[in-house]
Amino acid sequence: MLYYTILCGGIFTITLTIAAYSTYAERKVAAFLQDRIGPDRAGPFGILQPLADGLKFFMKEEIIPNVSNKFLFIAGPCIAMLTALMAGVVIPWGGTLEYDGVIYSLQIADLNIGILYVFGIVSIGVYGIMIGGWSSNNKFSLLGAIRASAQMISYEIAMGFSIIAMIMMTGTLSLGEISAQQAGGMGGDWNFWNVLYQPVGFIIFLICAFAECNRTPFDLPECETELVGGYHTEYSSMKLGFYLFAEYINMFISSAVIATLYFGGYNFPFMNNLGLDHNTITIIGSLILFGKIFFFIFFFMWIRWTVPRFRYDQLMNLGWKILIPLSVANIFATGLVMILTK
């Protein structure tokens, strides 16, 4: 019990720290991709920038519009933040640690419906945006929120379908088990990561993850040119900060999910052939998982500064007319291959 409290606290801290430093990394990556330097004033190389940003958010004036529904107005960012943080519970952050004969798992809750839990939590995240946009009592915010929720719901379908093909293959919904099944890949027992078996599913999942996180090229909820600021137009100070922060937490969580589902989670090639003891392997595995996660966070940013924003009809076309049929086809193809190879 005590162990799980510590683990929860640890993952909570790590998530928040990584999300905070993602904002810094985002600015740095953007700068480097555009031949600039980026923030470098706060501390050496600007590493205190997230603290400065946070302080600035807290010091700013807090404005709640008179005509808004105050309770919902405050609830919006809370829901966004809460749901973003909740999904980290089912992700296996590493294998197992053995101490004094007791085995400790680095996964807080190995639910046997792990993926469904993630999907459920992510879809509640839509409420944060929708409530925020609606309670602002501002037409632009409402339009932004509607666009955001329409986008997220559309892409969730394709995302779910792309996962089904993978679940058919792995035969489990538990993230811990999916991770464990990819153990040791490329070495000894030649067990490959899921991305090799499900390349199409992976691409669909990746695109949908971008859309779910409201990241460019799918960041239509905050289309400055047409919608002032999108669903968070009326938000100021830390409530706006929560929305933006939730986006970065979502990015971290979805990177973790992508790494777990398709890139072997905490497993790395030849892990069983190194002859190291169990705990060392677990720790190296966790570090490697974080390496994978950081790569995907970088990838999110990389794409953001490469691909321009979609138009809304293009976005809907891509979601409904391309990704959903493609993911259904992927399910059939996977089923066919499974029957033929059995």
């Binding site: 990556v29 700068a31 480097f32 991709l33 555009q34 031949d35 600039r36 330097i37 470098d40 691409i203 990389w302 794409i303 500064w305 490469t306 691909v307």
Partner: protein
């Protein structure tokens, strides 16, 4: 569009390759307060009203600079030199007020070309920023060079100007 073009993904991959190349490029940023950007010798910055060797103001308020100014940024009021002010003003007439509106000025340098007295020059100084519009009207307090802190404009003196200065028979070159 061909099928490959409609796939989007090859194009996106191409774009991604381009941006990752930029990750390893040298950044073009100049860290301003620590390092200033080099400017050309003939950079046209804030104006200066020169004094002569004895410290008297060269400007005689002839108004040619104001006439030459395409942005109509220069205004001046002429006044007559009194007895005892010979060390202040070079000739009998001088500018009692001389103002340049830096928001109008386009830094074309025509004023310095028009000036027959070599009184106005553009320098390498940058106009400081400000929040209000009023402070951008520069009067003589900001334009006339201090006697003990002369502003070097030799780089602005074009061959034509230098050639002109050799004609010692012209009164103002004496």
């Amino acid at each position: 569009m061909t099928f490959m073009e409609r796939m989007y993904l090859p194009a996106i991959l191409g774009g991604v390759v381009i941006t990752i190349k930029h990750l390893f490029r040298k950044s073009a940023t100049i860290r301003y307060p620590e390092k200033e950007r080099e400017i050309s010798d003939i950079w046209r910055g804030q104006h200066v009203l020169k004094r002569d060797e004895k410290g008297a103001e060269r400007c005689t308020a002839c108004g040619l600079c104001a006439v030459a100014c395409p942005a109509e940024a220069i205004t001046m009021v002429a006044a007559e030199r009194n007895k005892g002010e010979e060390n202040l003003y070079r000739e009998e007439k001088y500018a009692s007020t001389y103002e340049i509106n830096m928001l109008r000025c386009i830094f074309c340098g025509l004023c310095e070309e028009a000036c027959p007295k070599e009184a106005i020059f553009l320098t390498d100084r940058i106009i400081p920023t400000d929040y209000g519009r009023e402070s951008f009207v520069f009067g003589k307090d900001k334009l006339v060079e201090p006697v003990n802190a002369r502003i070097d404009v030799t780089k602005r003196q074009t061959p034509a100007v230098l050639e002109f200065k050799t004609h010692k028979k012209l009164s103002h070159n004496k």
